[in-house]
């Protein structure tokens, strides 16, 4: 048994399984003890679903905390990180606990609260082990873009997502580059206002190109899809870069669309 449980979310397992493969390779290679969370649903992501119902979000996220039973939840998606960490904050108050108890009683579950860690935090905590396990240095210049939600969750903990990702990228042998601040992938307004979405996406990609980078590295699967599939820009998930440096041999060109 470990003190960490893995919550992969919806989008990576269903649309970007190669990222899950990279994550599991890293967990195995670094010998990190982590169990899979069982009986999970979506976290009621913070952009659309939570907007539909605060009560629905809080109930569903509280159920996931109940399943984790106090073990630290490791998320692969930064939307999940926001959803579950904000639920965690609320569950630490008596009012939140009482509200969760009312919901969870209906499904015979108990209130529990976990800390939530994005996978980038796990990578950063294992930075020295990553360096020791590098067998194939990544000869790439990469614009570092953790994603808005990753930055928000980390900053509430007093961590800098940009700095952590910078160090992780350096550990793989790649050269990190900083694009301008306060960018976004525009995915949240896709299919709502496509003109706006494309303008926000274009602004980011232009900023990545201006750094002279070969591509962008992100920790967010939604950003990944926007940059790779919509903008067709060369994009890596942070887990892929680390896994490739440690000898993961999946041919990602079969799955990526960005050039």
């Amino acid at each position: 048994m470990s003190d960490l449980v893995l919550y992969p979310g919806c989008v990576i397992p269903a649309r970007l399984p190669f990222i899950e493969s990279a994550v599991r390779f890293i967990i195995d290679k670094l010998n990190i003890r982590m169990d899979d969370m069982q009986d999970t649903t979506c976290c009621m992501e913070p952009v659309g679903l939570r907007s539909l119902s605060e009560d629905g979000w809080f109930g569903v996220a509280s159920r996931l905390h109940s399943i984790a039973d106090g073990k630290d939840i490791v998320t692969l998606c930064d939307g999940c990180s926001v959803s579950l960490s904000e639920c965690s904050q609320r569950l630490k108050d008596q009012k939140g606990k009482d509200e969760a108890k009312d919901v969870l009683e209906k499904i015979d579950r108990q209130v529990a609260v976990s800390e939530v860690k994005g996978f980038i935090e796990i990578l950063y905590e294992n930075l020295e082990s990553i360096k020791k396990n590098v067998v194939k240095k990544q000869d790439l210049k990469l614009a570092v873009f953790p994603g808005c939600h990753c930055e928000a969750v980390c900053s509430k903990k007093g961590l800098s997502a940009n700095s952590m990702m910078f160090e992780i990228v350096k550990a793989t042998g790649a050269m990190p580059k900083y694009p301008r601040a306060n960018l976004c992938c525009g995915g949240s307004v896709s299919m709502i206002d496509d003109t706006l979405s494309k303008a926000i996406l274009g602004e980011s990609v232009n900023s990545f190109k201006a750094t002279g980078a070969d591509g962008v590295v992100t920790s967010c699967p939604f950003c990944f899809m926007q940059f790779d599939m919509v903008a067709r820009y060369r994009t890596y998930h942070i887990a892929e870069i680390v896994a490739m440096a440690m000898g993961w041999e999946i041919d990602i060109t079969k799955f990526h669309r960005g050039q």
């Binding site: 919806c10 989008v11 397992p13 269903a14 649309r15 399984p17 190669f18 899950e20 493969s21 599991r24 009986d39 999970t40 649903t41 979506c42 009621m44 992501e45 913070p46 952009v47 659309g48 679903l49 939570r50 907007s51 539909l52 119902s53 605060e54 009560d55 629905g56 109930g59 569903v60 159920r63 926001v82 919901v103 209906k106 499904i107 579950r109 808005c148 939600h149 930055e151 928000a152 900053s155 601040a181 306060n182 960018l183 976004c184 525009g186 949240s188 307004v189 896709s190 299919m191 709502i192 206002d193 706006l196 303008a199 926000i200 602004e203 999946i250 799955f255």
Partner: protein
């Protein structure tokens, strides 16, 4: 029911000093979308907030507010009582209610998972029932 009065009190919107820091970092505002400081002012004035669905929920506004107003939470709360929910989110809501997840591996992705040595997850009936009980209680339906 979330009212403007509730939002003003709960989120401390009266602390707003109109500095515009939120707007200065907002990727939506910069590209012609929602203007966060005007949205806060609209709630304070008791008028409808324009363009709430053009907010990216990126949290950048909340992170830079010098008086610590959670502008993101204001947007989320306003959306939760909006009658103009975009079809995209209505569809994901239905998918969540019916299937417990907003994305489920189908077709090619099932075989890609197998190819990568990953298991193909099936959501158990009990899990789905628990999710439906919670969501029905929150006003979701088929």
């Amino acid at each position: 029911m979330i009212s403007n009065t509730y939002l003003i009190k709960e989120l401390g919107l009266e602390r707003c000093i109109g500095c515009g820091n939120c707007t200065s970092v907002c990727p939506s505002a910069r590209n012609g979308g929602i203007v966060p400081h005007e949205a806060v002012q609209a709630v304070l004035d008791g008028v409808d907030v324009k363009d709430i669905w053009k907010c990216l929920i990126c949290h950048r506004c909340s992170a830079v507010c010098p008086v610590e107003i959670n502008v993101t939470q204001m947007m989320t709360s306003l959306r939760s009582v909006s009658e103009n929910v975009p079809d995209r989110f209505k569809k994901t809501g239905q998918q969540m209610f019916k299937g417990g997840k907003i994305f489920i591996p189908i077709g090619r992705m099932e075989s890609v998972r197998k190819e990568l040595g990953l298991s193909v997850e099936v959501i158990e009936e009990r899990t789905l029932n628990e999710s439906k009980i919670i969501l029905k209680r929150a006003g979701f339906n088929e």
